[in-house]
């Protein structure tokens, strides 16, 4: 008897709830744009959040409504971009891959405020009165990024500065997170096609900056004036490249009296320079500077 009652009770509840749900599914049916579902299926579906949306489905919705570009999926890369673009009938655009870049050229040219003799780690040094460098934005050079890189893509050179190997860098961004100077964008992710990179991110007054380091940007605005593409600007007393405009002509690299703009990027302007017959091919450019890029 009890069993019958139990079965009956649960069945009654089950029937009532399922009827309600079934009616609700009909009555509250919302039409979903079939393209949204198709795009969502094309995305990796791991809800990683790298595009800035909580779920792949949401970014699919935004891609269909045009709020996001088809290349917004960071994790998916080119194949996903192509698939999404095909569904949306848009011209396919390039997936923007990023690589890490260092905005500091100080190294052994940066003045030390004190002698640091502690643990050879940037994080430790940075905590001791902001690090031994007089410049509060400069690279400490103990290589936390080097040790953190899972792809062996960063190495310290003879100047004590970490050099990113653009061919090995996968754009994971771990070095950027690891660098204790991260909040002032010493290491930054830039588009892999970025042809040049400014090697300074100090925001002190220019006079103080010059006393701290002989490699700094002195905000003379030469690059800004000479740049034919209007792609480099001195913002807050610091040269900043707009990578959407930069054509990689290398003018700023040539005119900078401080040598604080370098050619950069995976394939970058190295070939252009070499083809011009200027400079020594892949190792130096016209200013006689080392080229880290692609070399």
């Amino acid at each position: 008897m009890l069993i019958l009652k139990a079965v009956g009770a649960l069945s009654v509840i089950g029937v009532i709830t399922s009827t309600i749900l079934a009616t609700a599914a009909k009555r509250f049916y919302v039409e979903v744009d079939p393209r949204v579902e198709a795009v969502a299926a094309a995305l990796p579906g791991s809800n990683c959040g790298a595009c800035g949306n909580p779920s792949c489905f949401m970014s699919a919705e935004k891609m269909v409504s045009g709020e996001l570009e088809p290349n917004a999926c960071v994790a998916g890369g080119q194949s996903v971009t192509d698939a999404v673009a095909a569904i949306l009938g848009a011209d396919t655009c390039d997936a923007i891959a990023m690589i890490s870049a260092r905005h500091c050229g100080g190294g052994d040219r940066a003045v030390r405020a004190y002698e640091y003799a502690g643990v050879r780690s940037c994080a430790a040094a940075n905590r001791l009165a902001g690090g031994p460098l007089a410049c509060s934005a400069g690279c400490l050079g103990y290589g936390d990024c080097v040790r953190a890189c899972p792809f062996d893509a960063i190495h310290l050179d003879e100047r004590g500065l970490p050099v990113v190997d653009p061919a090995k860098c996968t754009g994971c961004g771990i070095c950027v997170k690891e660098c204790p100077r991260g909040q002032i964008t010493l290491l930054e992710m830039v588009p892999e096609s970025a042809p040049v990179v400014v090697r300074c991110n100090a925001h002190d007054k220019v006079k103080a900056r010059k006393a701290n380091c002989s490699a700094c940007c002195i905000a003379c605005r030469k690059c800004e004036r000479e740049c034919p593409a209007d792609a480099i600007h001195v913002i807050d007393m610091l040269a900043v490249v707009d990578y959407t405009k930069c054509t990689g002509c290398g003018t700023c690299v040539e005119v900078c009296p401080q040598d604080c703009i370098d050619l950069y990027g995976r394939a970058a302007a190295v070939d252009t320079m070499a083809a011009d017959g200027r400079g020594g091919g892949a190792i130096t450019n016209v200013t006689g500077k080392r080229i880290e890029a692609g070399a």
Partner: protein
């Protein structure tokens, strides 16, 4: 004590003194899962308040009119309540999606998460089934529907309150120069422990 102050006591007792997250340790998964970010924890809190109150109402009604009269509640209450809560959440999700896309965006992704949340089940059971409600208030053996609602509201508001304070703490913790091995979840656990201690400090207020 008059009725109103009794209810106020019920609310405070449920929200603060017997906080479901920090003194009773129920529903800890969302407590750590979504507290990394202020926005999501607010969305989650709102959804929990909403769902808990509805779930308690539904379970109370079902207990009162189906399970108890048939005498099968004693062993059937868990499957029955889960069934009710799950379909209720489903229903709410569908309804929200149609009726208020804005609200759906704010709460939508958390609703399915709550379906099987232990905190919701626990509160709904306490509110509906006599003998589960343990707070030291003279209220009679089983809660009336009004009392059940106030109690559930208290619990869910306490849930939201704890979740949001913790999210605020965790957002600041991100900027703290914590040792590398402590960064992220480990230090969040320790913080949660300290937060829980401070909540335990309230036990005994008003004899609750």
């Amino acid at each position: 004590m008059s009725g109103v102050s009794q209810l106020a006591l019920l609310f405070i007792g449920a929200a603060l003194i017997n906080n479901i997250l920090l003194t009773r340790f129920i529903g800890l998964c969302p407590f750590f899962g979504v507290s990394g970010n202020m926005e999501t924890s607010i969305g989650m809190s709102l959804s929990v308040i909403f769902v808990m109150v509805m779930a308690s109402t539904a379970t109370w009604v079902v207990w009162e009119f189906i399970l108890d009269p048939l005498g099968v509640g004693e062993f059937l209450y868990i499957p029955a309540f889960i069934l009710i809560i799950a379909s209720l959440v489903q229903f709410v999700e569908m309804y929200l999606r149609k009726a208020s896309p804005v609200l759906y965006r704010a709460m939508g992704i958390y609703l399915p998460l709550i379906t099987t949340n232990c905190a919701v089940l626990a509160t709904a059971t306490e509110a509906a089934k006599p003998g589960f409600f343990k707070m030291n208030i003279a209220l009679g053996a089983s809660l009336s529907l009004g009392e059940a609602l106030v109690y559930t509201l208290g619990v869910s508001v306490g849930f939201g309150f704890a979740l949001i304070t913790f999210a605020a703490l965790r957002e600041r913790l991100e900027l703290v120069p914590a040792p590398r091995l402590m960064k992220g979840t480990p230090i969040a656990f320790i913080t949660a422990g300290l937060l829980s201690l401070s909540y335990l400090g309230m036990s005994g207020w008003f004899g609750l």
